[in-house]
């Protein structure tokens, strides 16, 4: 079910109405859990089995971490985390494993090839892992003392189901830490809904997704074989830029919608994007792009690795950075393209860190803008690996971009400029604000902006398609 489809709005209105009815005041979480199950199972009911299994594994494991014997706590945590990773790895890599086994054992390989990646699996397994590790740290090191779980197991199972399957965040994040989310579970009141926050997030989110991303999608569809063989070098270049804007609008749009939807039920999720295209370094980019994934990897992978490898000094740090980025890449998909994506970003962060430590570049006017442009171009080119996971296609694309020559297609330039403009404006407004020029402070600018966005949603949206990050 997509946030842009009619059945979703029917489900949302029904769940919202039931949620705030006085008769269900003690069952609000159950109402949301049931609504989330319907949301997830709408297209593929059999996937509900997977979700229920994941919830049960995490509920049982987390219960025994919190209430079980101290000497087994570490083992249970490790087992739970490994189970989550096993589920994720199985579904992510079954297809590619099946293809490689085709000449060895056809029956097994055919079965594996037929296994498709369930929507949202990367996100809800990460929620499960987060819960187990946070509870372990709570009990063992008194970290996150606010994180407690119910003694009644069924009550705890329901809360776990809610945390893992809450529909705004389940399919494509943000990946919310359990110590941030679980303490919020309490009775919610209609009068406490912050409508301004909810409405502004929803309008911005739907605008970015349906107007910007869905329209750019029609243009970036040509970054696929054989279509890109038609175009000149310059057109291929602007198509890549369009892809960056589309990716941002799609994912940031989804995240904003998730924030808005969660808030109408009384829950706060974390911001997932902070104007990433004004980053002046790759490291800064990753602090602004998909913030929840960055924080998850930092808390549960990078920091523990750095601590355990500290005796190796800089080599340990380099290893930790590269491992984290490679896993980030692999999380996005099965294939060498994703591993290389992670490797390139990891290497870039290391090189950048080394250069800034040892080489002093004298500041000159425009250096900040130059850095922004360089970082934007870097991430844009590396994202080609997402769009064309086949490395041979990437090679052909880049080769054509360098050698094909020819004039720019003005029609494409116009469309890309038109639909990318909102993203550019958003970043410019933020950049000016962070430098002391807040143009949104004038009384009527914000309401007019939101009115225009709403108008555009009603009258200028593209075709409804899956959110890009659903495939991860």
């Amino acid at each position: 079910m997509l946030f842009t489809q009619f059945p979703f709005f029917v489900l949302l209105i029904s769940v919202f109405a039931l949620y705030y009815l006085p008769v269900f005041k003690n069952h609000q979480v159950s109402v949301l859990v049931l609504g989330s199950f319907i949301f997830y199972a709408y297209r593929f009911p059999y996937l509900l089995l997977l979700l229920l299994s994941s919830i049960s594994i995490n509920a049982i494991t987390s219960y025994y971490i919190f209430y079980g014997k101290d000497n087994f706590r570490k083992t249970i945590t490790a087992a739970g985390v490994l189970l989550n990773i096993a589920i994720l790895v199985f579904f992510k890599y079954a297809h590619i494993t099946g293809l490689s086994l085709i000449h060895i054992d056809q029956s097994v390989s055919l079965f594996l090839i037929s296994v498709s990646v369930p929507v949202g699996i990367s996100f809800f397994t990460f929620h499960g892992i987060s819960m187990l590790i946070d509870l372990y740290r709570n009990k063992s090191f008194k970290v996150h003392p606010e994180l407690v779980i119910k003694r009644n197991f069924m009550h705890h199972w329901t809360n776990t189901a809610f945390y893992i399957a809450f529909f705004p965040q389940m399919i494509a994040g943000p990946i919310v830490k359990s110590y941030y989310f679980l303490p919020q579970i309490q009775r919610k009141y209609f009068k406490d809904i912050c409508w301004e926050y909810a409405v502004t997030k929803l309008i911005s989110g739907y605008f970015l997704k349906t107007v910007v991303a869905d329209n750019l999608k029609d243009i970036t569809a040509f970054i696929s074989y054989p279509y890109y063989t038609y175009f000149s070098s310059k057109t291929l270049l602007i198509l890549l830029f369009a892809h960056s804007f589309q990716l941002f609008a799609d994912f940031a749009g989804y995240s904003l919608i998730a924030l808005g939807l969660a808030s109408i039920f009384g829950y706060r999720l974390i911001d997932n994007f902070n104007n990433p295209f004004i980053s002046t370094s790759i490291a800064e980019f990753w602090r602004r792009w998909h913030i929840s994934l960055y924080q998850w990897l930092k808390d549960y992978l990078f920091s523990p690795l750095v601590i355990s490898l500290r005796q190796y000094g800089n080599m340990g740090l380099v290893f930790s950075v590269l491992t984290t980025f490679i896993i980030a890449g692999a999380w996005h998909g099965a294939g060498w393209a994703f591993i290389i994506f992670g490797l390139i970003h990891g290497a870039a962060v290391i090189i950048e860190n080394t250069v800034t430590k040892h080489i002093r570049i004298k500041a000159f006017p425009g250096i900040k803008l130059l850095k922004i442009v360089m970082v934007f171009c870097f991430v844009t080119f590396v994202w080609l690996l997402f769009k064309l996971p086949d490395l041979n296609s990437d090679y052909i694309y880049i080769k054509r971009m360098i050698y094909a020559g020819g004039n720019i297609d003005k029609r494409y330039l116009f469309f890309i400029s038109f639909y990318s403009l909102p993203v550019l404006l958003m970043h410019i407004i933020y950049y000016l604000k962070s430098n002391g020029y807040n143009i949104l402070k004038f009384k009527y600018i914000k309401p007019v902006l939101y009115a225009v966005m709403l108008m555009a949603i009603l009258s200028n949206k593209g075709s409804s398609g899956n959110f890009i990050y659903f495939q991860f």
Partner: protein, 276 residues
């Protein structure tokens, strides 16, 4: 809300000139919405894929409505016809891309409850009145350049043809093919019950492509003694952008050919139009 109302009043009062859609998706939606929102009796409707979508509408008589869609196949058009209350007299079904699946999301988006009822009366909800379609006719076409499908270079075409012919020489996916053939037959039978005539046709593809296997199978499953067919024309007579789609000249030529074939099969159509 004020913006919305002002915009609609402007569109209703001034009916500004619009573009025909700048990409395949938009052209699809505009064609579908025109058919659904202004669902009047039509003589002939074409249901097919991008191959039919690219036919030259200026060469087709006004009593033919092109309900073919880029990136889709005949099943999408047939489903739209089925859902609309007013039926055409004749449906022409292009069978070229029969292995594609019907885009149920696309069809569902056209028939969104409530919205599809009010859309004919609220112009800004219609795809053709999207802001970009309103401003494009006002931008100097000399600046933007013509909007046409580009042709692939010969070496590229030959390579792609080799790949496709190699795929075509393998065993067909008979289970999927039969499933889709049965779907088409169901539509034809439903249409027959409503006194709608159906005619089948296969557009010629680039001569480099050898798709005889699937075409022969289709002719076997839709035998000429049970189903009406448009006579096939040779690929030699046409020019193509790529392996499956006519270029501008090819589309014009085939449109003229299709018109002549229709008039041959249904001479009363010409008589009816002349007498009106």
């Amino acid at each position: 809300m004020a913006f919305f109302v002002i915009c609609n009043i402007y569109l209703i009062l001034f009916m500004p000139s619009i573009g025909s859609g700048e990409n395949d998706r938009q052209k699809n939606i505009i064609a579908a919405q025109e058919y659904i929102d202004y669902n009047t009796h039509r003589q002939i409707v074409l249901a097919g894929s991008s191959c039919t979508r690219r036919l030259d509408s200026s060469m087709l008589p006004h009593y033919i409505y092109n309900l073919a869609f880029g990136g889709e196949n005949m099943l999408t058009g047939l489903e739209i016809i089925r859902r609309c209350p007013v039926k055409p007299r004749i449906v022409l079904i292009e069978l070229n891309q029969i292995l594609l699946d019907m885009d149920s999301d696309f069809v569902a988006s056209l028939f969104t409850p409530i919205l599809y009822k009010i859309r004919p009366y609220v112009p800004s909800l219609q795809e053709k009145y999207q802001f970009i379609n309103l401003i494009l006719p006002r931008i100097n076409k000399t600046y933007l350049g013509p909007n046409y499908y580009k042709s692939l270079p010969k070496e590229q075409l030959e390579k792609m043809a080799n790949d496709e012919n190699s795929e075509n020489s393998k065993t067909l996916n008979y289970s999927k093919l039969d499933n889709h053939i049965n779907l088409v037959k169901n539509y034809i039978n439903e249409n027959k019950a409503k006194a709608i005539k159906t005619v089948l046709y296969l557009l010629p593809w680039n001569c480099l492509v050898n798709n005889n296997k699937i075409n022969d199978y289709l002719r076997l499953k839709f035998p000429i003694n049970e189903y009406q067919w448009i006579e096939s024309d040779s690929c030699i007579n046409y020019s193509f952008n790529d392996l499956h789609h006519f270029d501008v000249q090819g589309a014009r030529k085939y449109s003229i050919y299709l018109k002549s074939q229709i008039e041959k099969l249904f001479p009363d159509i010409i008589i009816n139009r002349k007498s009106q």
